[in-house]
Amino acid sequence: SLSDKLGLTFKRLKGHGKLSESNIKDALRDVRINLLEADVNYRVVKDFIASVKKRAMGKEVLASLTPGQQFIKIVNEELISLMGGKAGELDLAARPPVAVMLCGLQGSGKTTSVGKLAHMLKKMGRRPYLVPADVYRPAAIEQLTKLAGDLDVPVFPSTTGQDPVEICRQAMEKAEVQNNDVVLLDTAGRLHVDEDLMQELLNIKREIQPKQILLVADSMTGQDAVNVAERFDEDLGVDGVILTKTDGDARGGAALSIKAVTGKPILFVGTGERMDAMEAFHPDRMAGRILG
């Protein structure tokens, strides 16, 4: 783990009395390599190291009796504060039906996450309505319809011949009539560089005015996480992030990259394939995982 590695680095310095700038540079190098191995974006790492260096080169570490521990403490604090301090919350404060739109790259876990959100909301006493707005992927509508059946929540009867914006518009009307208070819009996976499909999301946004737009991102994403998050946030405006597949052994540096580049909170993490496998995001836990 990083604290073990740093422990070794600082152990070597123990006999030398006061810590020098070059000692700190070695420790910073260890942290940098560690974060790159954890998939944190190259530039985000650069900025992070710069902010740690500022504090580490000060009296806080250099004059400390336990410089190693002090250094690790700084790294941890800086990482947790970058991760977003405290956990964010889904904002559903609006006149019902409130729309939540899920978007993201292909295969990131949107459809599954819609099901999980419905499960969560139902347990909280809400009445969610599922909307399959993916008319492209083979059997996407069937997939969400099946999940709705398993969860015993209503689902809009989309067909692949319909336009996604029209599906969402009609679904909001139905939700109003049926007294469903939260509408969950499942959109097709798309590349952030696909202009037509990004425009489609803007069209849905303009028509529906969703209260929350959630970017669904795979926790094992590498350096590209920054490009994706930046484009979705710039083009569309993202309110929060769902990080999926955290039940694997990916270090999850993408979480740090996404937060650093958008400033938006990670609200939930997916922890499995079943409908109850979603939890609130804990910044300190994620920071610990990224540091390894």
Binding site: D39, Q106, G107, A139, Q143, L147, V193, G248, A250
Partner: protein, 278 residues
């Protein structure tokens, strides 16, 4: 981070950034930067472009793995097992492979070996219809091995050329799911000695260093004979496959460059390396 005599700090930093942002990873990047230092800097002290060329050649050599072409002659049907973690593009890639091989006049049977995820068989059904391949499926929640067994049996009795078996996405860390995959592998052998003749891991180009763990665990469990790198039509470079090829000797067979049936290409290491540096 790494010193060099031939390149100045800025030039080296530039190369380093290219390598890291392409998901090449620390270990492989260090290996390549050492190579620049030891092999290239010595001969081409004053020519940074030559160094870049040498670096690209080195990466190409790491990716050039001797690969036997698919042997349809001695194996009828040829059986390909497709595996990988969740959402990487296995089912879609199988659809693309079905298109490619039916276009070549082969009789293709698809096995809906994902009996777990909602509408997985329905998804593969659409691909079968699009490509003229035949689908063998079972009950949702049924035994995936039984589906694959039935598909191979059907292929034998119908004299089909190729069986491509889809499996449910699974994280390599889930021991019971990896065991299930090993069981499917054994069932293939029971249905036809020597099957599966190919075991291909589907990797998403947007995946970071975790792809190495994925390759390691799936390779350990099944002995992979190929990889397919999908979603290269995005902005991710998929550099992680360099370390995987170098460490495990698994060749990349195809790449996915879109969501349609035709969006599959044979892996071209020269084009891949060129794209890394663009």
């Amino acid at each position: 981070m790494f010193g060099s005599k031939a390149l100045d700090d800025d030039e080296l930093e530039e190369i380093e950034e290219i390598l890291f942002t392409a998901d090449i990873g620390v270990k492989t990047a260090q290996k390549l930067l050492e190579y620049i230092e030891k092999e290239l800097s010595r001969k081409d002290k004053s020519r940074p472009e030559k160094i870049l060329g040498g670096l690209q050649e080195k990466i190409r050599s790491m990716l050039s793995i001797e690969t036997k072409p698919l042997d349809f002659e001695s194996n009828k049907p040829l059986v390909i097992l497709v595996v990988g973690v969740n959402g990487t593009g296995k089912t879609t890639t199988i659809g693309k492979l079905a298109m490619r091989f039916t276009d070549e006049g082969k009789k293709v049977i698809l096995a809906a070996g994902d009996t777990f995820r909602a509408a997985a068989a329905e998804q593969l059904q659409v691909w079968a219809e699009r490509t003229g391949a035949q689908l063998i499926r079972g009950q949702e929640g049924g035994d995936p091995g039984a589906v694959v067994y039935d598909a191979i049996s059907a292929a034998k009795s119908q004299n089909a050329d190729l069986v491509i078996a889809d499996t449910a996405g699974r994280l390599h860390t889930k021991v019971n799911l990896v065991e299930e995959l090993k069981k499917i592998h054994r069932v293939c052998g029971k249905a036809m000695p020597g099957a599966p003749h190919e075991v291909w891991l589907v990797l998403d180009a947007t995946t970071g260093q975790n792809a190495i763990n994925q390759a390691k665990q799936f390779h350990k469990a099944l002995e992979l004979t190929g990889m397919i790198l999908t979603k290269l039509d995005g902005t991710a470079k998929g550099g992680v496959i360099i370390g995987i090829a170098d460490t495990f000797g698994i060749p990349v067979r195809f790449i996915g460059i879109g969501e349609q049936a035709a969006d599959l290409r044979r892996f071209d290491s020269e084009a891949f390396v060129k794209a890394l540096f663009t």
